[in-house]
Amino acid sequence: MKQILILIMAVAALAACTEQTQTIDSGNRPDTAAFQGTGTPFAAPGWKPGDKISWEQQLKTRTQNGQNDYAKVN
């Protein structure tokens, strides 16, 4: 009985030697998706914040209108 008690105490004493976890915060912090909008009045018109489909369409339309000069000229 005494031996078992000593064993338990030894195990309990060893448990104090364990290290605390040192894992740093992961960089994978959840980021709000861009299609959720900013809630500020600076958003471009023509799409609905929170609607991913309309946001994607807005970007495609904006790319064509703003960067495809062949579409504008011809």
């Binding site: 959840p30 980021d31 958003a43």
Partner: protein, 205 residues
């Protein structure tokens, strides 16, 4: 939606640096940090070419691979972003990046390197979209405003294209077909020859 990408048309870039200026102005980037730069090859020699270079938001980004604190993450649109609260400013990413995209502010004491700063594709960072904290650390979040990167939208000659990879690839392809040249300058044509440009090996492509 495909991945967000930049393409710079070396046939059109006139080294005006308006993309650099637009970026610095939009995000209030501090002195010593240029998220975007214009690089000129064979400067002063007839036929010189300029391209605008920033973070290319690599599909297999070496900066992400080497970061010891895992501060990088990739958005659903393929934009490589980082968390400045986690960054320790070690500089590994700047050594790994083939484009020199990661920059470090030099405002501290000699030898002190601050948190890494780089192009965000105007997509901000992990702070709340449009918040002051996001602006202070990463600049404007234009994507969340339904806009595209300021550098590409401000480009006077439309040399710099930025947006959905499929869309800008179509724009660039159409442009090259219409003007009849350009694909031989960079990319596939340079490596394997371009039939369109009359170079050997073009038949294989």
């Amino acid at each position: 939606m495909a991945r967000m990408k930049f393409v710079c048309d070396a046939e059109r870039c006139i080294e005006c640096n308006s993309c650099v200026t637009a970026c610095k102005n939009e995000h209030e980037v501090p002195w010593g940090v240029n998220r975007r730069r214009v690089v000129t090859l064979n400067d002063g020699i007839p036929g010189e070419r300029s391209i605008s270079v920033a973070c290319m938001h690599c599909s297999d980004a070496p900066c992400m691979a080497v970061c010891p604190v895992n501060c990088f993450y990739r958005s659903d649109e393929g934009v490589v972003l980082h968390d400045k609260d986690v960054c320790i400013g070690c500089g590994y990413c700047s050594y790994a990046c083939p484009f020199g995209a990661p920059q470090f502010p030099a405002s501290g004491h000699f030898g002190v390197r601050g948190k890494m700063d780089k192009c965000t594709f105007c997509a901000g960072g992990p702070e709340a979209n449009g918040s002051q904290a996001e602006f202070d650390k990463y600049g404007r979040n234009r994507l969340a405003e339904g806009k595209l990167p300021a550098c590409a939208e401000m480009c006077s000659t439309k040399a710099l294209l930025g947006g959905d990879g499929d869309v800008i690839a179509d724009i660039f392809r159409n442009r090259v077909l219409k003007r009849g040249k350009g694909a031989e300058v960079w990319g596939w044509g340079t490596a394997y020859g371009s039939k369109q440009a009359g170079q050997p090996g073009g038949a294989k492509s």
